[in-house]
């Protein structure tokens, strides 16, 4: 197992964790009928999910660049 492979797995874990927390916050905001629930959804839930997606996409770029280095 290479160092790069370990880094990719950690990025995947961080992405998964961010998405799970963000989705749980989204469920809470959907079940809470209050004007603040939109604030909770938009500023906490959606931000965490969005960050998780960005980390996942970054991990894909990371894997692609590592593959490129191997071939180059």
């Amino acid at each position: 197992m290479t160092f790069r492979n370990l880094e990719f797995k950690w990025l995947l874990r961080i992405s998964s964790a961010l998405i799970i927390v963000g989705l749980l916050v989204e469920i809470a905001s959907l079940l809470w009928f209050h004007p603040l629930s939109f604030v909770l959804f938009a500023f906490v839930g959606a931000s965490l999910i969005g960050l998780g997606i960005v980390v996942y996409l970054a991990s894909l770029v990371f894997v692609a660049s590592t593959g490129g280095e191997k071939h180059g």
């Binding site: 995947l12 992405s15 989204e26 004007p35 839930g45």
Partner: protein
């Protein structure tokens, strides 16, 4: 709708949990595709679905009146006096009762919902962070287009001699529907202690 979205969220959580516990499963092509679905496509759809549900929810009368500051305005919808314009519209279902606030206060322009949401967030900020105003006022005053959105083109509105004489002034907002001495009894929350209330079903 909410149940479907929650089901989708639960599915996303299950997939994300797999990649949290066993990230090594992404070594195979099939799991790589599943990782893309579980960590990118589905969560993105959950954001879109969540935004849609929150926007729809904020159109409901119940949502608007869940704010403490809006309680007197909600009460004014039940005034037993037809000269109270919001009460008359709400009680006679001239606007959908479950979307009464939205029907008369929404900005019907292209970016209206976005502007309304930003205005709502400003009010939440004032309520919880800065100082809320003693009297709630609509920035720029009440726009006649919010009345004309429904009334323009309606026979009884167009054929009314006063309306037709002042139509240009009404459409250009030079004369307000509610402050020109015509339909000037609106929520009047300051006088609610002295009026009779209608109770549905009685």
């Amino acid at each position: 709708m909410t149940q479907i979205l929650i089901g989708q969220i639960v599915l996303s959580i299950v997939l994300a949990c797999i990649f949290l516990i066993r990230p090594s499963v992404t070594n195979t092509a099939g799991w790589k595709i599943l990782a893309f679905i579980g960590l990118c496509a589905l969560p993105a759809l959950c954001i879109v679905g969540g935004m849609n549900i929150h926007m729809q929810r904020s159109e409901q009368t119940q949502f608007c009146t869940s704010c403490h500051a809006m309680a007197p305005y909600a009460r004014s919808l039940y005034v037993d006096d037809p000269s109270y314009i919001p009460a008359q519209h709400f009680q006679n279902h001239r606007v959908p009762a479950d979307m009464a606030c939205y029907a008369c206060h929404a900005d019907y322009s292209i970016y209206g919902p976005l502007k309304d949401k930003m205005r709502g967030l400003t009010r939440i900020y004032m309520q919880y962070v800065s100082t809320p105003p003693v009297t709630i006022r609509i920035p720029g005053g009440y726009d006649n287009n919010q009345c004309l959105h429904c009334h323009a083109g309606a026979r009884d509105f167009e054929e009314n001699a006063i309306h037709s004489a002042a139509m240009d002034a009404l459409k250009s907002n030079q004369m307000s529907c509610i402050s020109s001495g015509c339909h000037d009894t609106v929520h009047n929350v300051a006088s609610l202690d002295h009026v009779k209330f209608w109770r549905p079903g009685q």
